[in-house]
Amino acid sequence: MLWDAIGFYGMALFLIFFALKTITVPNPIHAALYLVLTMIGLAGMFFNLGAHFIAGVQMIVYAGAVMVLFVMVLMLFDLKAEIRSFSRGLLSGALKIMSSALLVGFALGSAGSSVAILDSSDTAPTQIDVTRQLGVLLYTKYLFAFEVLGILLLVVAVGVVAVSRMKGGTHAQH
C-alpha cells in the first residue's frame, strides 16, 4: 500500500508539473512536448487503474497520432516563442483564474464527500477479461454509437481537408 501511494503521488506530481508547464511555456513547441509527457503520464495512470487497453490506446492515439499532428502543424507554422503568451486584462485574468479555482474547489469538495459511497469495491475482473468484455460491449450494446463515430470521423476528415484548403473564408480580403 505504501508503494502504491508512493507510485501514485510520484506520478501525480509529474503529471501536474507537466500539465502546468504545458500551459505556461511561451514556446508552443515546448508546450506540445510537455503535453506529450502529460499524455504518457496519464496513460500510466490508466494502467495503474487497470485499464490496460485504454492506456495503450492513449499512448497510440494521443501521445502518438494527435500530438504528432499538433507538432506537425506547429512546425509548419514555424512559430517562435511568444513575448506575450497570455491574453491581456488584469481583471478578466483574475476572474478566469478565480472561476477555474472555484470549479476545482467544488470538484474536490464533491469528490471528497462522495468517497464514502463509492470507495468500496475491489471486484475488478482480471485484465484479459477487461479487454475482452470491452470488445464485446463495443460491438453489442454500443454498436450504433460506434458506427456513428465512424461516420463522424469520415465527415471530419473531409471537413478538415475542405477547411484547410479554403482561401480566407469570412476573412477574405479580395
Partner: protein, 108 residues
Amino acid sequence: MPSTETILNVGLTHYLALSAVIFSFGMIAVLMRKNVIVMLMGVELMLNAVNLSFIAFAKESGNLSGHIMVFFVMTIAAAEAGVGLALAVAIYKKFHEVNIRFFEHLRG
C-alpha cells in the same frame, strides 16, 4: 486535515482530485492563452482529465461503460483536434500568426 491513512490509502478521491487539477489547468489554457494551438492543447488536457475520472469511476464501480466512454471521448477529441488545427491552418494562411484575436469578430 486528513489522516495519514487517508493519504496513504490511494482511492477514487485521489484520482478525482488529480483529474480536477488537470482539468483546471486545461481550462486556464483555454481562457488565457493567446495562441490558438495552445488553446487546443488546453482542450485536450480537459478531455484527458475527464477521461481519468471516467476510468477511476469505472474501476471503483466495476462497470466497464466508463471505458467505452473514454474510448468515444478519445475519438471525438481526435476529430476535434483535427478540425481545430485545420482552422488554425486557415487563419495562419491569412495572417501568418495564430493569435486568438483574429477570431474576435463576434461583436455584432
